[in-house]
Protein backbone atom coordinates (compact mmCIF):
# COMPACT_ATOMS: atom_id res chain seq x y z
CA UNK A 1 0.00 0.00 0.00
CA UNK A 2 1.33 3.40 -0.97
CA UNK A 3 1.98 5.94 1.79
CA UNK A 4 0.67 9.50 2.18
CA UNK A 5 3.68 10.91 0.32
CA UNK A 6 2.79 8.84 -2.74
CA UNK A 7 -0.82 10.09 -2.73
CA UNK A 8 0.37 13.67 -2.23
CA UNK A 9 2.84 13.35 -5.11
CA UNK A 10 0.16 11.90 -7.39
CA UNK A 11 -2.32 14.63 -6.47
CA UNK A 12 0.29 17.37 -6.95
CA UNK A 13 1.37 16.27 -10.41
CA UNK A 14 -2.24 15.75 -11.54
CA UNK A 15 -3.20 19.18 -10.24
CA UNK A 16 -0.31 20.75 -12.12
CA UNK A 17 -1.23 18.78 -15.22
CA UNK A 18 -4.82 19.98 -14.99
CA UNK A 19 -3.64 23.60 -14.88
CA UNK A 20 -2.20 23.08 -18.35
CA UNK A 21 -5.82 22.84 -19.51
CA UNK A 22 -7.13 25.82 -17.54
CA UNK A 23 -8.93 27.45 -20.48
CA UNK A 24 -10.64 24.18 -21.30
CA UNK A 25 -11.62 23.67 -17.66
CA UNK A 26 -12.91 27.27 -17.35
CA UNK A 27 -15.08 26.86 -20.45
CA UNK A 28 -16.35 23.46 -19.31
CA UNK A 29 -17.17 24.92 -15.88
CA UNK A 30 -18.99 27.92 -17.34
CA UNK A 31 -21.08 25.91 -19.76
CA UNK A 32 -21.99 23.30 -17.12
CA UNK A 33 -23.38 26.13 -15.00
CA UNK A 34 -25.16 27.74 -17.94
CA UNK A 35 -26.75 24.48 -19.09
CA UNK A 36 -28.06 23.85 -15.58
CA UNK A 37 -29.42 27.38 -15.35
CA UNK A 38 -31.52 26.82 -18.48
CA UNK A 39 -34.06 25.10 -16.19
CA UNK A 40 -34.43 28.34 -14.20
CA UNK A 41 -35.78 29.99 -17.37
CA UNK A 42 -37.84 26.96 -18.36
CA UNK A 43 -39.57 26.88 -14.95
CA UNK A 44 -39.97 30.66 -14.87
CA UNK A 45 -41.84 30.28 -18.20
CA UNK A 46 -43.98 27.46 -16.75
CA UNK A 47 -45.00 29.68 -13.78
CA UNK A 48 -45.56 32.70 -16.02
CA UNK A 49 -47.85 30.90 -18.46
CA UNK A 50 -49.70 28.97 -15.74
CA UNK A 51 -50.58 32.32 -14.14
CA UNK A 52 -50.43 30.69 -10.73
CA UNK A 53 -48.30 32.13 -7.91
CA UNK A 54 -47.52 28.69 -6.59
CA UNK A 55 -47.49 25.18 -8.06
CA UNK A 56 -48.09 22.33 -5.65
CA UNK A 57 -47.33 24.80 -2.88
CA UNK A 58 -44.00 25.92 -4.33
CA UNK A 59 -43.38 29.53 -5.33
CA UNK A 60 -41.39 30.62 -8.37
CA UNK A 61 -38.67 31.96 -6.06
CA UNK A 62 -38.48 28.58 -4.38
CA UNK A 63 -38.10 26.84 -7.75
CA UNK A 64 -35.44 29.32 -8.89
CA UNK A 65 -33.50 28.68 -5.67
CA UNK A 66 -33.86 24.92 -6.28
CA UNK A 67 -32.40 25.08 -9.79
CA UNK A 68 -29.62 27.53 -8.90
CA UNK A 69 -28.49 25.19 -6.09
CA UNK A 70 -28.88 22.30 -8.54
CA UNK A 71 -26.49 24.07 -10.92
CA UNK A 72 -23.95 24.13 -8.08
CA UNK A 73 -24.49 20.48 -7.17
CA UNK A 74 -24.28 19.26 -10.77
CA UNK A 75 -20.75 20.67 -11.04
CA UNK A 76 -19.71 17.75 -8.83
CA UNK A 77 -22.34 15.09 -9.55
CA UNK A 78 -23.33 15.83 -13.16
CA UNK A 79 -20.66 13.73 -14.83
CA UNK A 80 -18.25 11.15 -13.41
CA UNK A 81 -14.93 12.68 -14.44
CA UNK A 82 -13.19 9.47 -13.45
CA UNK A 83 -14.55 7.89 -16.63
CA UNK A 84 -12.93 10.37 -19.01
CA UNK A 85 -9.76 8.39 -19.78
CA UNK A 86 -10.88 4.93 -18.77
CA UNK A 87 -12.10 3.71 -22.14
CA UNK A 88 -8.83 4.70 -23.78
CA UNK A 89 -6.88 3.08 -20.92
CA UNK A 90 -8.76 -0.18 -21.27
CA UNK A 91 -8.91 -0.37 -25.04
CA UNK A 92 -5.56 1.02 -26.10
CA UNK A 93 -3.57 -0.43 -23.24
CA UNK A 94 -2.86 2.89 -21.48
CA UNK A 95 -3.84 1.15 -18.25
CA UNK A 96 -0.39 -0.46 -18.32
CA UNK A 97 1.27 2.82 -17.32
CA UNK A 98 -0.91 2.90 -14.17
CA UNK A 99 -0.45 -0.75 -13.30
CA UNK A 100 3.34 -0.50 -13.29
CA UNK A 101 3.10 1.90 -10.34
CA UNK A 102 2.86 0.70 -6.73
CA UNK A 103 -0.67 2.03 -6.26
CA UNK A 104 -4.23 0.88 -6.99
CA UNK A 105 -5.58 1.78 -10.41
CA UNK A 106 -8.78 3.15 -8.85
CA UNK A 107 -6.86 5.39 -6.48
CA UNK A 108 -4.75 6.70 -9.34
CA UNK A 109 -7.88 7.45 -11.37
CA UNK A 110 -9.43 9.29 -8.45
CA UNK A 111 -6.26 11.30 -7.90
CA UNK A 112 -6.33 12.16 -11.60
CA UNK A 113 -9.95 13.39 -11.56
CA UNK A 114 -9.91 14.93 -8.06
CA UNK A 115 -8.13 18.17 -9.10
CA UNK A 116 -10.80 18.83 -11.74
CA UNK A 117 -13.55 18.10 -9.23
CA UNK A 118 -11.92 20.43 -6.70
CA UNK A 119 -11.78 23.23 -9.28
CA UNK A 120 -15.41 22.59 -10.30
CA UNK A 121 -16.46 22.59 -6.64
CA UNK A 122 -14.40 25.65 -5.67
CA UNK A 123 -15.25 27.80 -8.66
CA UNK A 124 -18.64 26.32 -9.56
CA UNK A 125 -20.50 24.76 -6.65
CA UNK A 126 -19.22 26.87 -3.77
CA UNK A 127 -19.87 30.40 -5.14
CA UNK A 128 -23.33 29.37 -6.34
CA UNK A 129 -24.34 27.75 -3.07
CA UNK A 130 -22.82 30.52 -0.92
CA UNK A 131 -24.49 33.10 -3.20
CA UNK A 132 -27.93 31.47 -2.88
CA UNK A 133 -27.58 31.18 0.89
CA UNK A 134 -26.23 34.73 1.32
CA UNK A 135 -28.44 36.61 -1.11
CA UNK A 136 -31.48 34.37 -1.42
CA UNK A 137 -32.82 35.31 2.00
CA UNK A 138 -32.72 31.65 2.96
CA UNK A 139 -32.32 30.54 6.53
CA UNK A 140 -29.97 27.58 6.23
CA UNK A 141 -29.44 25.91 9.58
CA UNK A 142 -26.01 24.51 10.57
CA UNK A 143 -27.53 21.02 10.73
CA UNK A 144 -28.91 21.38 7.17
CA UNK A 145 -25.47 22.54 6.05
CA UNK A 146 -23.77 19.59 7.75
CA UNK A 147 -26.27 17.11 6.27
CA UNK A 148 -25.87 18.75 2.84
CA UNK A 149 -22.08 18.36 3.08
CA UNK A 150 -22.46 14.69 4.04
CA UNK A 151 -24.90 14.10 1.17
CA UNK A 152 -22.53 15.78 -1.29
CA UNK A 153 -19.71 13.47 -0.23
CA UNK A 154 -22.05 10.50 -0.69
CA UNK A 155 -23.16 11.75 -4.12
CA UNK A 156 -19.53 12.35 -5.15
CA UNK A 157 -18.46 8.85 -4.13
CA UNK A 158 -21.54 7.30 -5.72
CA UNK A 159 -21.17 9.01 -9.10
CA UNK A 160 -17.47 8.15 -9.27
CA UNK A 161 -17.96 4.52 -8.31
CA UNK A 162 -20.74 4.25 -10.90
CA UNK A 163 -18.39 5.97 -13.38
CA UNK A 164 -15.72 3.42 -12.56
CA UNK A 165 -18.17 0.55 -13.11
CA UNK A 166 -19.19 1.97 -16.50
CA UNK A 167 -15.57 2.70 -17.46
CA UNK A 168 -14.54 -0.86 -16.54
CA UNK A 169 -17.11 -2.18 -18.99
CA UNK A 170 -14.90 -0.80 -21.78
CA UNK A 171 -13.16 -4.17 -21.68
CA UNK A 172 -16.35 -5.81 -22.94
CA UNK A 173 -18.06 -3.06 -24.94
CA UNK A 174 -16.98 -1.36 -28.13
CA UNK A 175 -17.74 2.00 -26.52
CA UNK A 176 -19.00 2.98 -23.07
CA UNK A 177 -20.05 6.53 -23.97
CA UNK A 178 -23.59 5.48 -24.84
CA UNK A 179 -24.00 3.79 -21.44
CA UNK A 180 -22.39 6.73 -19.62
CA UNK A 181 -24.64 9.27 -21.33
CA UNK A 182 -27.74 7.14 -20.75
CA UNK A 183 -26.95 6.73 -17.05
CA UNK A 184 -26.24 10.43 -16.43
CA UNK A 185 -29.38 11.36 -18.36
CA UNK A 186 -31.37 8.89 -16.24
CA UNK A 187 -29.87 10.35 -13.07
CA UNK A 188 -30.92 13.81 -14.16
CA UNK A 189 -34.44 12.77 -15.18
CA UNK A 190 -35.19 10.50 -12.21
CA UNK A 191 -33.11 12.42 -9.70
CA UNK A 192 -34.81 15.79 -9.85
CA UNK A 193 -32.46 17.36 -12.36
CA UNK A 194 -35.27 18.29 -14.73
CA UNK A 195 -38.45 18.05 -12.67
CA UNK A 196 -38.18 18.36 -8.88
CA UNK A 197 -39.49 15.18 -7.29
CA UNK A 198 -42.02 17.13 -5.19
CA UNK A 199 -44.02 17.67 -8.37
CA UNK A 200 -44.32 13.92 -8.94
CA UNK A 201 -47.04 11.72 -7.42
CA UNK A 202 -46.17 10.89 -3.80
CA UNK A 203 -45.66 7.15 -4.25
CA UNK A 204 -43.33 7.66 -7.26
CA UNK A 205 -41.41 10.38 -5.44
CA UNK A 206 -41.04 8.19 -2.33
CA UNK A 207 -39.77 5.31 -4.46
CA UNK A 208 -37.28 7.48 -6.34
CA UNK A 209 -36.00 8.88 -3.03
CA UNK A 210 -34.75 5.40 -2.19
CA UNK A 211 -32.87 5.01 -5.47
CA UNK A 212 -29.36 6.33 -6.21
CA UNK A 213 -30.86 8.82 -8.72
CA UNK A 214 -32.25 11.18 -6.08
CA UNK A 215 -28.86 11.39 -4.35
CA UNK A 216 -27.31 13.14 -7.32
CA UNK A 217 -29.59 16.19 -7.26
CA UNK A 218 -32.86 16.20 -5.37
CA UNK A 219 -31.87 15.01 -1.88
CA UNK A 220 -28.86 17.32 -1.31
CA UNK A 221 -30.68 20.24 -2.97
CA UNK A 222 -33.84 20.03 -0.87
CA UNK A 223 -31.77 19.34 2.27
CA UNK A 224 -29.87 22.60 1.87
CA UNK A 225 -33.01 24.56 1.08
CA UNK A 226 -34.76 23.14 4.15
CA UNK A 227 -37.51 21.54 2.04
CA UNK A 228 -36.51 18.14 3.32
CA UNK A 229 -36.75 17.78 7.09
CA UNK A 230 -33.50 17.05 8.93
CA UNK A 231 -34.77 13.65 10.08
CA UNK A 232 -35.51 12.61 6.49
CA UNK A 233 -32.15 13.94 5.36
CA UNK A 234 -30.40 11.95 8.09
CA UNK A 235 -32.25 8.85 6.93
CA UNK A 236 -31.06 9.64 3.38
CA UNK A 237 -27.47 9.86 4.62
CA UNK A 238 -27.82 6.33 5.94
CA UNK A 239 -29.51 5.00 2.80
CA UNK A 240 -26.92 6.80 0.63
CA UNK A 241 -24.09 5.26 2.65
CA UNK A 242 -25.58 1.82 2.04
CA UNK A 243 -25.76 2.56 -1.69
CA UNK A 244 -22.12 3.66 -1.69
CA UNK A 245 -21.12 0.43 0.04
CA UNK A 246 -23.24 -1.62 -2.39
CA UNK A 247 -21.74 0.10 -5.43
CA UNK A 248 -18.24 -0.23 -4.00
CA UNK A 249 -18.75 -3.98 -3.58
CA UNK A 250 -20.13 -4.22 -7.12
CA UNK A 251 -17.19 -2.23 -8.48
CA UNK A 252 -14.71 -4.38 -6.58
CA UNK A 253 -16.26 -7.63 -7.85
CA UNK A 254 -16.43 -6.32 -11.40
CA UNK A 255 -12.82 -5.08 -11.25
CA UNK A 256 -11.66 -8.52 -10.12
CA UNK A 257 -13.09 -9.92 -13.34
CA UNK A 258 -12.11 -6.99 -15.55
CA UNK A 259 -8.44 -7.03 -14.61
CA UNK A 260 -8.26 -10.68 -15.66
CA UNK A 261 -9.79 -9.85 -19.03
CA UNK A 262 -7.76 -6.77 -19.90
CA UNK A 263 -6.02 -7.14 -23.23
CA UNK A 264 -3.74 -4.09 -22.97
CA UNK A 265 -2.78 -4.25 -26.59
CA UNK A 266 0.07 -2.44 -28.25
CA UNK A 267 3.69 -2.21 -27.40
Amino acid sequence: MADVGAYAAAFKVNFKNMLAYKTDIALDLTFTILSSLIFVFVWAAVYYFSGAGTLDGFSLNGIIAYFIVLAGISEVTGWPKIINNMEEDMKEGGIARFLIRPMNYTTQLLLESLPVDIVFFTFGSLPIIVGVVAFGHLSVTPSALALFAALMVIAYLMINIIGFIIGSMAVYLTSVWGVANAVTWLFSLAGGGVVPLFFLPDNIARLLMLTPFAFMYYIPDTTLLGIMPASAALQSVMIGTLWVIAFAIMASLLWRKVKRDINSVGG
Binding site: A8, K12, V13, N17, I100, R101, G267
Partner: protein, 335 residues
Protein backbone atom coordinates in the same frame (compact mmCIF):
# COMPACT_ATOMS: atom_id res chain seq x y z
CA UNK B 1 17.85 -16.93 -5.27
CA UNK B 2 19.87 -16.52 -8.42
CA UNK B 3 17.04 -16.03 -10.88
CA UNK B 4 15.28 -12.70 -11.29
CA UNK B 5 12.66 -14.23 -13.57
CA UNK B 6 11.32 -17.75 -13.94
CA UNK B 7 8.80 -18.30 -16.72
CA UNK B 8 7.46 -21.84 -16.79
CA UNK B 9 5.12 -23.00 -19.54
CA UNK B 10 3.24 -19.72 -19.65
CA UNK B 11 0.11 -19.51 -21.76
CA UNK B 12 -1.85 -16.37 -22.61
CA UNK B 13 -5.00 -16.30 -24.72
CA UNK B 14 -6.95 -13.28 -25.89
CA UNK B 15 -10.52 -13.04 -27.02
CA UNK B 16 -10.82 -11.20 -30.29
CA UNK B 17 -13.84 -10.43 -32.38
CA UNK B 18 -14.25 -10.57 -36.12
CA UNK B 19 -17.14 -8.82 -37.86
CA UNK B 20 -19.11 -10.69 -40.47
CA UNK B 21 -18.60 -9.19 -43.88
CA UNK B 22 -20.94 -6.54 -45.24
CA UNK B 23 -22.95 -3.86 -43.43
CA UNK B 24 -25.80 -6.24 -42.59
CA UNK B 25 -23.33 -8.77 -41.23
CA UNK B 26 -21.69 -6.14 -39.01
CA UNK B 27 -25.14 -5.15 -37.73
CA UNK B 28 -26.09 -8.63 -36.62
CA UNK B 29 -23.07 -9.74 -34.74
CA UNK B 30 -19.46 -10.70 -34.65
CA UNK B 31 -17.53 -13.90 -34.43
CA UNK B 32 -15.49 -14.59 -31.30
CA UNK B 33 -12.00 -15.93 -31.84
CA UNK B 34 -9.43 -17.04 -29.35
CA UNK B 35 -5.91 -15.94 -30.16
CA UNK B 36 -3.11 -17.71 -28.35
CA UNK B 37 -0.56 -14.99 -27.72
CA UNK B 38 1.82 -17.17 -25.69
CA UNK B 39 1.93 -20.91 -25.95
CA UNK B 40 3.89 -22.68 -23.24
CA UNK B 41 6.84 -20.29 -23.04
CA UNK B 42 9.60 -21.19 -20.54
CA UNK B 43 12.90 -19.48 -19.75
CA UNK B 44 14.84 -18.02 -16.85
CA UNK B 45 16.71 -14.75 -16.40
CA UNK B 46 19.55 -14.55 -13.92
CA UNK B 47 19.95 -11.57 -11.63
CA UNK B 48 22.13 -8.94 -13.26
CA UNK B 49 21.65 -10.43 -16.71
CA UNK B 50 20.75 -8.39 -19.79
CA UNK B 51 18.31 -10.34 -21.90
CA UNK B 52 17.03 -9.37 -25.33
CA UNK B 53 13.62 -10.64 -26.29
CA UNK B 54 13.25 -10.76 -30.05
CA UNK B 55 10.49 -11.67 -32.43
CA UNK B 56 8.34 -10.33 -35.20
CA UNK B 57 5.38 -8.03 -34.58
CA UNK B 58 2.66 -10.03 -32.89
CA UNK B 59 5.03 -12.74 -31.68
CA UNK B 60 4.03 -12.19 -28.03
CA UNK B 61 6.95 -10.09 -26.74
CA UNK B 62 4.91 -7.15 -25.46
CA UNK B 63 2.32 -9.47 -23.95
CA UNK B 64 5.06 -11.28 -22.06
CA UNK B 65 6.58 -7.99 -20.83
CA UNK B 66 3.15 -6.92 -19.54
CA UNK B 67 2.72 -10.26 -17.83
CA UNK B 68 6.12 -9.94 -16.19
CA UNK B 69 5.10 -6.48 -14.98
CA UNK B 70 1.86 -7.84 -13.50
CA UNK B 71 -0.37 -5.96 -15.94
CA UNK B 72 -1.73 -9.11 -17.56
CA UNK B 73 -2.59 -12.45 -16.00
CA UNK B 74 -1.30 -15.75 -17.32
CA UNK B 75 -3.95 -18.24 -18.44
CA UNK B 76 -1.66 -21.16 -17.80
CA UNK B 77 1.79 -22.03 -16.52
CA UNK B 78 3.60 -20.11 -13.81
CA UNK B 79 5.93 -17.17 -13.51
CA UNK B 80 7.82 -15.55 -10.69
CA UNK B 81 9.52 -12.19 -10.89
CA UNK B 82 11.94 -11.36 -8.05
CA UNK B 83 10.33 -14.23 -6.16
CA UNK B 84 6.79 -12.81 -6.51
CA UNK B 85 3.75 -13.73 -8.56
CA UNK B 86 3.60 -10.64 -10.80
CA UNK B 87 -0.20 -10.58 -11.13
CA UNK B 88 -1.11 -11.38 -7.52
CA UNK B 89 1.68 -9.28 -5.95
CA UNK B 90 1.57 -6.48 -8.51
CA UNK B 91 1.91 -3.57 -6.08
CA UNK B 92 4.76 -5.17 -4.10
CA UNK B 93 6.52 -6.04 -7.34
CA UNK B 94 6.00 -2.53 -8.77
CA UNK B 95 8.11 -1.16 -5.89
CA UNK B 96 11.06 -3.22 -7.13
CA UNK B 97 10.83 -2.99 -10.90
CA UNK B 98 10.92 -0.32 -13.58
CA UNK B 99 9.12 -0.54 -16.90
CA UNK B 100 9.64 1.37 -20.14
CA UNK B 101 6.79 0.95 -22.60
CA UNK B 102 8.45 2.71 -25.50
CA UNK B 103 6.43 5.53 -26.94
CA UNK B 104 3.13 3.61 -26.76
CA UNK B 105 2.29 4.11 -23.09
CA UNK B 106 4.51 6.93 -21.84
CA UNK B 107 4.89 7.72 -18.15
CA UNK B 108 5.78 11.34 -18.82
CA UNK B 109 3.00 13.90 -18.49
CA UNK B 110 2.65 15.33 -21.98
CA UNK B 111 1.98 18.93 -20.93
CA UNK B 112 4.51 19.11 -18.10
CA UNK B 113 8.29 19.06 -18.16
CA UNK B 114 9.91 15.69 -17.29
CA UNK B 115 11.13 17.09 -13.97
CA UNK B 116 7.51 17.08 -12.74
CA UNK B 117 7.15 13.37 -13.56
CA UNK B 118 10.54 12.72 -11.90
CA UNK B 119 9.31 14.50 -8.75
CA UNK B 120 6.10 12.47 -8.88
CA UNK B 121 8.14 9.25 -9.03
CA UNK B 122 10.24 10.51 -6.13
CA UNK B 123 7.09 10.85 -4.02
CA UNK B 124 5.56 7.63 -5.35
CA UNK B 125 8.58 5.50 -4.37
CA UNK B 126 9.54 7.49 -1.28
CA UNK B 127 12.98 8.48 -2.61
CA UNK B 128 14.74 10.84 -0.20
CA UNK B 129 15.57 14.35 -1.40
CA UNK B 130 19.33 13.76 -1.27
CA UNK B 131 19.13 10.40 -3.09
CA UNK B 132 16.83 11.94 -5.70
CA UNK B 133 19.22 14.84 -6.33
CA UNK B 134 22.16 12.48 -6.61
CA UNK B 135 20.42 10.07 -8.97
CA UNK B 136 18.93 12.77 -11.13
CA UNK B 137 22.29 14.44 -11.53
CA UNK B 138 23.79 11.11 -12.51
CA UNK B 139 21.11 10.45 -15.15
CA UNK B 140 21.31 13.99 -16.50
CA UNK B 141 25.00 13.48 -16.97
CA UNK B 142 24.71 9.92 -18.31
CA UNK B 143 22.00 10.73 -20.85
CA UNK B 144 22.86 14.37 -21.66
CA UNK B 145 19.56 15.73 -20.34
CA UNK B 146 20.81 19.06 -18.99
CA UNK B 147 18.85 21.13 -21.50
CA UNK B 148 15.97 18.71 -21.71
CA UNK B 149 14.39 17.83 -18.38
CA UNK B 150 12.90 21.23 -17.62
CA UNK B 151 11.29 21.72 -21.03
CA UNK B 152 7.69 20.76 -21.67
CA UNK B 153 7.53 17.09 -22.72
CA UNK B 154 5.48 17.84 -25.84
CA UNK B 155 8.36 20.01 -27.10
CA UNK B 156 10.94 17.24 -26.81
CA UNK B 157 12.12 14.97 -29.59
CA UNK B 158 11.29 11.26 -29.44
CA UNK B 159 14.88 10.48 -28.48
CA UNK B 160 14.81 13.01 -25.64
CA UNK B 161 11.48 11.68 -24.42
CA UNK B 162 12.70 8.09 -24.45
CA UNK B 163 15.79 9.02 -22.46
CA UNK B 164 13.48 10.68 -19.90
CA UNK B 165 11.22 7.59 -19.91
CA UNK B 166 14.33 5.58 -19.11
CA UNK B 167 15.02 7.89 -16.14
CA UNK B 168 11.40 7.46 -14.94
CA UNK B 169 11.90 3.71 -14.84
CA UNK B 170 15.25 3.79 -13.08
CA UNK B 171 15.06 6.63 -10.56
CA UNK B 172 13.99 4.32 -7.76
CA UNK B 173 16.91 1.95 -8.42
CA UNK B 174 14.79 -1.05 -9.40
CA UNK B 175 16.25 -4.54 -9.26
CA UNK B 176 14.71 -5.36 -12.62
CA UNK B 177 13.89 -3.15 -15.61
CA UNK B 178 11.55 -4.33 -18.37
CA UNK B 179 11.91 -2.34 -21.59
CA UNK B 180 9.39 -2.84 -24.37
CA UNK B 181 10.81 -1.52 -27.62
CA UNK B 182 12.47 1.49 -26.00
CA UNK B 183 14.30 2.59 -29.14
CA UNK B 184 11.67 2.45 -31.89
CA UNK B 185 12.16 5.54 -34.03
CA UNK B 186 14.85 6.87 -31.70
CA UNK B 187 17.92 8.55 -33.19
CA UNK B 188 21.31 6.84 -32.99
CA UNK B 189 22.92 9.04 -30.28
CA UNK B 190 19.92 8.62 -27.97
CA UNK B 191 19.82 4.89 -28.65
CA UNK B 192 23.48 4.56 -27.82
CA UNK B 193 23.09 6.69 -24.70
CA UNK B 194 20.29 4.42 -23.46
CA UNK B 195 22.37 1.33 -24.35
CA UNK B 196 25.37 2.69 -22.44
CA UNK B 197 23.18 3.55 -19.45
CA UNK B 198 21.90 -0.04 -19.37
CA UNK B 199 25.47 -1.33 -19.24
CA UNK B 200 26.42 1.20 -16.54
CA UNK B 201 23.45 0.38 -14.33
CA UNK B 202 24.06 -3.32 -14.60
CA UNK B 203 27.68 -2.75 -13.63
CA UNK B 204 26.93 -0.38 -10.75
CA UNK B 205 23.73 -1.84 -9.30
CA UNK B 206 23.54 -5.36 -10.74
CA UNK B 207 20.22 -4.36 -12.34
CA UNK B 208 18.59 -7.04 -14.48
CA UNK B 209 17.29 -5.86 -17.86
CA UNK B 210 14.84 -7.48 -20.23
CA UNK B 211 14.65 -5.60 -23.52
CA UNK B 212 12.33 -6.29 -26.43
CA UNK B 213 13.50 -4.74 -29.65
CA UNK B 214 13.61 -4.88 -33.42
CA UNK B 215 16.76 -2.74 -33.55
CA UNK B 216 19.78 -4.94 -34.15
CA UNK B 217 22.19 -2.46 -32.48
CA UNK B 218 20.27 -2.82 -29.21
CA UNK B 219 21.32 -6.42 -28.81
CA UNK B 220 25.03 -5.91 -29.39
CA UNK B 221 25.76 -5.89 -25.66
CA UNK B 222 23.18 -8.30 -24.31
CA UNK B 223 24.16 -11.48 -22.49
CA UNK B 224 21.44 -13.65 -23.93
CA UNK B 225 18.73 -13.69 -26.55
CA UNK B 226 15.35 -15.34 -26.41
CA UNK B 227 13.27 -15.35 -29.55
CA UNK B 228 9.52 -15.75 -29.78
CA UNK B 229 7.47 -16.60 -32.81
CA UNK B 230 3.72 -17.10 -32.89
CA UNK B 231 3.77 -17.23 -29.10
CA UNK B 232 6.37 -19.97 -28.87
CA UNK B 233 9.96 -19.79 -27.71
CA UNK B 234 12.06 -20.63 -30.75
CA UNK B 235 15.54 -19.71 -29.52
CA UNK B 236 17.18 -19.28 -26.14
CA UNK B 237 20.91 -18.74 -26.09
CA UNK B 238 23.83 -16.38 -26.48
CA UNK B 239 24.73 -14.40 -29.58
CA UNK B 240 27.56 -16.84 -30.13
CA UNK B 241 25.17 -19.76 -30.08
CA UNK B 242 23.02 -18.00 -32.63
CA UNK B 243 26.09 -17.25 -34.75
CA UNK B 244 27.17 -20.86 -34.63
CA UNK B 245 23.87 -21.82 -36.24
CA UNK B 246 24.73 -19.70 -39.28
CA UNK B 247 28.51 -19.72 -39.29
CA UNK B 248 28.35 -22.08 -42.19
CA UNK B 249 28.45 -19.07 -44.48
CA UNK B 250 30.60 -15.99 -45.11
CA UNK B 251 29.62 -12.78 -46.85
CA UNK B 252 31.89 -11.68 -49.70
CA UNK B 253 31.44 -8.16 -51.05
CA UNK B 254 33.06 -7.37 -54.40
CA UNK B 255 33.47 -4.07 -56.24
CA UNK B 256 34.16 -4.26 -59.97
CA UNK B 257 35.65 -1.82 -62.43
CA UNK B 258 33.88 -3.70 -65.21
CA UNK B 259 30.40 -4.73 -64.23
CA UNK B 260 30.21 -7.23 -67.08
CA UNK B 261 32.56 -9.43 -65.06
CA UNK B 262 30.13 -9.79 -62.18
CA UNK B 263 28.37 -12.72 -63.84
CA UNK B 264 31.59 -14.72 -63.89
CA UNK B 265 31.79 -14.88 -60.08
CA UNK B 266 28.15 -14.59 -59.05
CA UNK B 267 27.66 -18.27 -59.82
CA UNK B 268 29.97 -19.30 -56.95
CA UNK B 269 27.66 -18.06 -54.22
CA UNK B 270 24.17 -16.92 -53.44
CA UNK B 271 23.67 -13.32 -54.58
CA UNK B 272 22.37 -11.32 -51.61
CA UNK B 273 22.72 -7.86 -53.20
CA UNK B 274 23.69 -6.88 -56.72
CA UNK B 275 23.83 -3.38 -58.15
CA UNK B 276 25.95 -1.74 -60.87
CA UNK B 277 29.54 -2.56 -60.00
CA UNK B 278 28.83 -4.25 -56.65
CA UNK B 279 27.79 -7.73 -55.63
CA UNK B 280 27.37 -9.33 -52.22
CA UNK B 281 27.64 -13.10 -52.16
CA UNK B 282 26.85 -15.57 -49.41
CA UNK B 283 28.95 -18.69 -49.66
CA UNK B 284 30.31 -21.56 -47.63
CA UNK B 285 33.53 -20.86 -45.73
CA UNK B 286 35.35 -23.61 -47.71
CA UNK B 287 34.80 -21.63 -50.93
CA UNK B 288 37.33 -18.95 -49.97
CA UNK B 289 40.05 -21.59 -49.90
CA UNK B 290 39.38 -22.63 -53.48
CA UNK B 291 41.42 -21.71 -56.49
CA UNK B 292 38.70 -19.72 -58.23
CA UNK B 293 38.54 -17.46 -55.20
CA UNK B 294 42.24 -16.55 -55.37
CA UNK B 295 41.89 -16.00 -59.10
CA UNK B 296 38.94 -13.73 -58.50
CA UNK B 297 40.81 -11.61 -56.00
CA UNK B 298 43.65 -11.24 -58.48
CA UNK B 299 41.28 -10.30 -61.28
CA UNK B 300 42.01 -6.74 -62.47
CA UNK B 301 38.29 -6.07 -62.69
CA UNK B 302 37.89 -6.55 -58.90
CA UNK B 303 38.92 -3.21 -57.47
CA UNK B 304 37.98 -3.90 -53.85
CA UNK B 305 36.58 -6.70 -51.72
CA UNK B 306 35.49 -7.52 -48.17
CA UNK B 307 35.04 -10.86 -46.47
CA UNK B 308 32.88 -10.84 -43.35
CA UNK B 309 30.99 -13.12 -41.05
CA UNK B 310 27.27 -12.59 -41.46
CA UNK B 311 26.06 -9.56 -39.49
CA UNK B 312 23.74 -9.97 -36.53
CA UNK B 313 20.90 -8.54 -38.61
CA UNK B 314 21.56 -11.04 -41.38
CA UNK B 315 21.62 -13.88 -38.87
CA UNK B 316 18.35 -12.79 -37.34
CA UNK B 317 16.78 -12.65 -40.76
CA UNK B 318 18.13 -16.15 -41.45
CA UNK B 319 16.65 -17.21 -38.14
CA UNK B 320 13.22 -15.90 -39.17
CA UNK B 321 13.54 -17.71 -42.50
CA UNK B 322 14.49 -20.91 -40.69
CA UNK B 323 11.43 -20.54 -38.45
CA UNK B 324 9.26 -20.08 -41.53
CA UNK B 325 10.82 -23.12 -43.19
CA UNK B 326 10.54 -25.33 -40.11
CA UNK B 327 7.08 -23.95 -39.44
CA UNK B 328 5.90 -22.78 -36.04
CA UNK B 329 2.30 -23.73 -35.53
CA UNK B 330 -0.01 -20.73 -35.80
CA UNK B 331 -1.46 -19.78 -32.40
CA UNK B 332 -4.79 -18.58 -33.76
CA UNK B 333 -7.68 -20.92 -33.43
CA UNK B 334 -11.39 -20.62 -33.50
CA UNK B 335 -13.15 -20.54 -30.18
Amino acid sequence: MNNAIIVDGVVKKFKTYESYSGAAGALFGRKKKIKTALDGVSFKVKRGEILAMLGRNGSGKSTLIKMLAGVLRADGGAMTVLGLDPFKDRIRLAQQIGVVFGSTHPQLFWDLPPIDTFNYIKGMYGISESAFERKLERFIDMLSLKDVYKRQTRQLSLGERMKCEFVCSNLHSPKLVLMDEPTVGVDLPSRMAIGDAVIELRKEQKTTFVITTHVVDDIANVDRIVMLDHGKLVFDGSQEEMRSMFKKSVMVELYFSDKRRIGRYAKYGKVVVSRDDYVKLEMGPEEIKRRWFTQMLNDDAVVDYRINEPSLGFMLNQMYKKIDRDGVKDGAENG
